[in-house]
Symmetry: C2
Subunit: 410 residues, 2 copies
């Protein structure tokens, strides 16, 4: 089975709203064995919208629209689908009663324009939307389907999980797809590609390699008739990857550098103090991503210029070396963090962003150090990228190195 | 003139790489009077890619492709355009010499597969790419154009600015479009809509209203034959908006809450100390966005749990109230920040994220206070949104309120 996605709205087309829905749906469809062939963004123009939906109906098993289900005259998804199907939109009493009671619950009268949110065409069933006023449509004729979903990501993902994923999966019952992502750090893409080259020739499971901010990801995908079978097909490939490159693997699937670092601290039962120089709070604020981070974070200090650092227990040389920091500067920051926050682990990170040059753009250099008990280790990295990304690269690097410093055996 | 954008690559189609190029190009094209009608994402499949580019060629004045210009067998943009145009790809000696010298400069031999990056078809001219190995193509027959651009945003935006924007503008010389964005905070979208309702009826300049994280934006767009003329058309509308809602305007065009807050500190010649509770460094790290922020930031402390706060000069009640913070807590943090960092301005921000409920999702409440000299003011806000966005909403609110606290006359 194959699908296409139509993202509707002039603000989406013009990039004023970033369309995260189509990427989310493409990944979700892949998990249930439905291949996405096209994504089209189209504005709130009745002719062009009609044309795009008609093309989807003609060429794709499943066409999923997102957006354009609001109450205004710009919201034309229902009208366009009805026109493609050659059917009339008819007000449904139960939907209307439900809609009215939603407005009553908020203490406001229902505007007349909302009535179209209570309509269906003959080929359509309603898809419940517990998070909003616009129900979705499931339109089915023959073996083709058009699905209309609301644009707000919170409404869309709930509707997908509760209603649409199970329904589409039951149309495609003989296909189960399992993916396994192994995240590595410290080996180049070319290096991994060479080390694992025989595995890339396998077709099912297949193996893909992706360069990401947090290292190189390896993703195995297996297709079978059941999930258990697909999982069993992946196991030997995962074992082989671990045998060859296991030392470089730091995380699996949805794990991130942040969640792994916080987990490592929790497992080690250690608290963390941080002093940040040029990353200016970015390392600390990234920890937000992991729930419960505040149980292990003792505190963090951002030192953004060399004045008055002695107040926080830093020796004079940290101020002296402020504009040409070294690994030793980071080590001093890490030890100072440990003392200042009375924590078992101290992290210090500092660095510089070089002025941009025409040829190379900007290059950032970071020094980072990890004080765990009496031991201090340091690492340095340099990141040739845009100004605003240098710091986030350095932060990811620091989180991965923190994990390694907490588990020196790995 | 109207255009369409084709974003090429299976990773783009599947949402593994977020396609920022199409939104960027749509906004840039609008500025030079070219209307974008469709954006299509398509994978690295030769048949589907051919079909999408052929449809663009048949229906749009300008078709812009992004991506698929790399050296591998998956990079099929050139081949697809050549097939649509019915022309042969021919290696260009000057392009090949240039490509080889780029590899020599890096000290590596040029792989044979890169040769296709040195080809053109008869209808194509080369578009220089100083940031990468893949030049673009400008393909022109009759009054239609296909433009092939590289996928990396850094290469694409440079190529747009230097080469393509001037070239397209010269095809559309009689149209100049000027936009003016006025950014407001503190009045609801509905309220502004009502206050300014006569202005929304104007067609040229037109006025749009957009709800954003940093408040409500008003955008006036004027179309004329020269830029000066378009600018003159906007002036009276801007004056009228300022007369009615001027007190709510905090920024213009590309200004952000961060750049305005840092500018306000620089103008006031004041330094800033920060203590963050639940935002955990997000306020501080956001300042990174403004160059030279470290000249005004004396330092920042993240206090993530109530233990040991006395060490930093906080009274016992801050710890006692940690799980039910009040505006008074924020005021104490602001005064403590001022003292702790010996700065003229102290900002304290704290708050809580409520547990999610089925009906309302999560709600976050923030308290923020601003100590400027001897004066302390506080503000509170609550933000019903996703867990990871509550803190960024609170940070934007704090930056806008900081600006107001520094300019109490506004």
């Amino acid at each position: 089975m194959h699908a296409e996605i139509v993202s509707i709205g002039t603000e989406i087309l013009m990039g004023e709203i970033v369309d995260t829905n189509s990427g989310y749906l493409a990944a979700e469809l892949a998990k249930i064995g439905i291949d996405v062939r096209w994504v089209t963004k189209v504005g709130d123009d009745p002719e062009r919208l009609h044309e795009v939906i008609e093309r989807g109906w003609n060429r794709s098993d499943v066409t999923i629209t997102t957006g354009g289900l609001g109450p205004t005259s710009d919201d034309l998804t229902r009208e366009s689908i009805a026109r493609v199907m050659g059917e009339e939109m008819i007000v449904q009493d139960d939907l209307l009663a439900n809609l009215k009671s939603q407005f009553e619950g908020r203490g406001v009268p229902m505007p007349a324009t909302n009535i179209k949110q209570a309509t269906l065409i003959e080929s359509a069933e309603v898809v419940l939307n517990p998070m909003g006023t616009a129900p979705g449509w499931w339109v089915n004729r023959g073996d083709r389907v058009i699905i209309a979903m609301p644009g707000p990501p919170r409404e869309l993902s709930r509707m997908w999980d509760n209603e649409l994923a199970p329904k589409l999966r039951s149309m495609n019952p003989e296909v189960a797809i399992v993916t396994r992502t192994l995240k590595t750090f410290g080996i180049s893409e070319g290096g991994l590609d060479e080390m694992l080259s025989p595995l890339f020739k396998s077709e099912n499971p297949s193996l893909g390699i992706y360069s990401k901010q947090d290292g190189i990801h390896l993703r195995a995908i297996a297709t079978a008739t059941t999930e258990v079978e697909a999982r069993e097909m992946i196991t030997p490939m995962e074992q082989e990857i671990r045998r060859i490159a296991g030392h470089a693997i730091w995380g699996l699937d949805d794990e991130t550098a942040v969640t792994r670092a916080i987990d490592a601290l929790k497992q080690a039962e250690k608290t963390l103090g941080i002093i940040e120089g040029f990353t200016a709070g970015l390392l600390t604020s990234s920890l937000n991503e992991a729930q419960g981070y505040s149980d292990v974070l003792a505190g963090s200090l951002v030192a953004s210029n060399p004045a008055g650092l002695q107040r926080f227990g830093m020796p004079q040389e940290v101020s002296d070396d402020w504009n040409s920091p070294t690994p030793a500067t980071a080590e001093t920051l890490a030890r100072t963090a440990q003392k200042f926050f009375d924590s078992q682990v101290g992290v210090g990170i500092t660095g510089l962003v070089a002025e941009a040059t025409e040829a190379s753009g900007r290059v950032g250099t970071a020094h980072m150090a990890f004080a765990v008990g009496d031991q201090v280790t340091s690492r340095s990295g340099s990141y040739p990228t845009q100004r605003l990304r240098i710091r986030s690269r350095a932060v990811t690097h620091a989180l991965l190195e923190l994990m390694a410093a907490l588990n020196p055996s790995n």
